[in-house]
């Protein structure tokens, strides 16, 4: 993988990485776009034709008030409304683990987008493993601050798990990178099992095979 430039200014590290993957003036759908920070970055810097889906009404209203095209909706339910190849890039940032049916969601992403960018927390990160092994309790970290009973993250996976799901749904991995909690890339080439241990999150660019 390539080394990425260090995050600049106030742009979140993983947002910068995503922005670097998106081609200028592309049609982009950001699923789980929150208050529109990433979408706004893409519209400003890459002049994309950007759309968003956001579950929280507060997030949607904030997005529309800043001039973004965003609808209230849900990755599990509302992706089926979109036609095939509706977008050049579909982005699912830090949301896959919160969906009810991640595999179906990924299939829908591959259907409606020519390129799919997915980022998710890596449950195989060494600190998570240590907490489970030595404390015997579900990991709670700064990056994953929820207790098991109130977490929105109902389908955690490791980088290795995600890679095998990509195989199952015929997704081709174009780019992949392991990131730290701040969204900075781990910056060196390593075998999968190393990334699966040291990556706190992961970012993938996928295409249909």
């Amino acid at each position: 993988m390539n080394l990425q430039p260090a995050p600049s200014g106030t742009v979140r590290g993983d947002h910068r990485l995503v922005a670097d993957l998106v081609t200028p003036r592309a049609r982009v759908l950001d699923i789980g776009c929150g208050d529109g920070e990433l979408l706004d970055l893409l519209v400003r810097e890459k002049q994309v034709d950007g759309r968003g889906i956001e579950l929280s009404q507060a997030g949607v209203n904030a997005c529309v008030a800043r001039g973004l095209s965003v609808v209230q909706g849900d990755a599990d339910r509302d992706l089926s409304d979109y036609p095939d190849d509706a977008f050049d890039f579909v982005i699912l940032s830090q949301t896959l683990q919160a969906t009810y049916a991640p595999r179906q969601v990924l299939q829908e992403l591959l259907r409606i987008g020519s390129n799919v960018i997915v980022s998710f927390p890596n449950f195989g990160f060494w600190r998570n493993r240590l907490q489970l092994m030595f404390k015997g309790s579900m990991p709670v970290t700064d990056y994953l601050p929820y207790s098991w009973y109130d977490t929105p993250n109902i389908h955690f996976c490791t980088i290795r798990d995600f890679v095998s799901m990509c195989d199952e749904v015929d997704a081709r991995m174009v780019r992949s990178m392991a990131l730290n909690a701040r969204g900075e890339p781990v910056g060196f080439t390593a075998p999968w099992w190393v990334w699966n241990l040291i990556g706190e999150q992961a970012l993938f660019l996928l295409k249909r095979s």
């Binding site: 800043r66 973004l68 209230q72 509706a86």
Partner: protein, 407 residues
Amino acid sequence: MTNETTVDPGAGTSEPLSAPANEADTPSSKVERFGGDKALQLDCGTLLDPWQIAYETYGTLNAERSNAVLVCHALTGDQYVASPNPLTGKPGWWSMLVGPGRPVDTDRYFVICANVLGGCLGTTGPASTNPQTGRRWGLDLPLVTIRDMVRAQAVLLDHLGIETLFAVVGGSMGGMQVLQWAVSYPERVFSALPIAAAARHSSQNIAFHEVGRQAVMADPNWCGGRYFERGVRPSKGLAVARMAAHITYLSDPALHRKFGRNLQDRDAITFGFDADFQIESYLRHQGMTFVDRFDPNSYLYVTRAMDYFDLGADYGGSLARAFLHSPTRFCVMSFTSDWLFPTAESKAVVRALNAAAANVSFVEVESDRGHDAFLLDEPEMFRTVTGFLTGAAHARGIAPPPAGGLA
């Protein structure tokens, strides 16, 4: 009330009618008259020739003619969106949303609002004089549809030399016109803001309208729609229609908060049918003031136009096909407590727009004021309209308002 002494010239009586008599033919606002090659082909098959359309404008059309905003009014609205209504003297019905420094900023945009076809404040409607007979149209006027209203507005815009609208904005029936605009003239609509609307009128809503129409027609003074000639007016019927409709514009929590079971100017119930409760008194007041400004036949026509509205029906029942290849930017808005045009109706529009890969935003505004919320002080709505229009204006290259504007 400026019109209380207005006398219908054709009635042969000096009885004050409180009818918008003169306003129907010679409105206080701007008006354009069309005929001949500008005759209006109606959906019912009839050619309306001649006809006229009354409208108001606010702000200035820029040199590029790129900043025109069409505001579409609701069932009983009018062209006086941001200026006083000549009959009631009340401020424009959407003056909180439209005006200098407002979300629809008249320092930045050129705003046009026309009375709908079938209305009674200067656009051809049943209260207008039929030039063929010299009498008022009454029920001789062909039935009109939402699409006919939009066609009439398009002719007006042609006349004004406006090819593309920067935005079409409207609530309720106004929102229906917005959607119809986007489907009928997609290339003429840069952005569309349908608020508290639907792509078709529901069975329940048709039912409420039918109650209203039957109330009007059951009034002996309706006279088969020829009340003007008889020098009478079905005010009671129209007032009842308005009372019933008004309930549908509110919500149970809003009514409860405002009136509860409070008594009107009395300490105890009277064991009679006087207006014991505040809510009764309020509704009676709503009914009585409405009849002063609205023509009963017009109420029949415009409610019918809403009933007939079904945007997907013209496209094999597929709303998505209606919007296919739409270049328009949409912002669909609904209110949580609106049970007349509930969020589900707006979401159906959004789903169809997504399926058509159209550019759409959707905002549901939290409010307990029911359908009427779109006409009220709802800061979340204002923020959304401001944000959406500002983003669209940027995309369209419309200059920001002069410094000092609130937007």
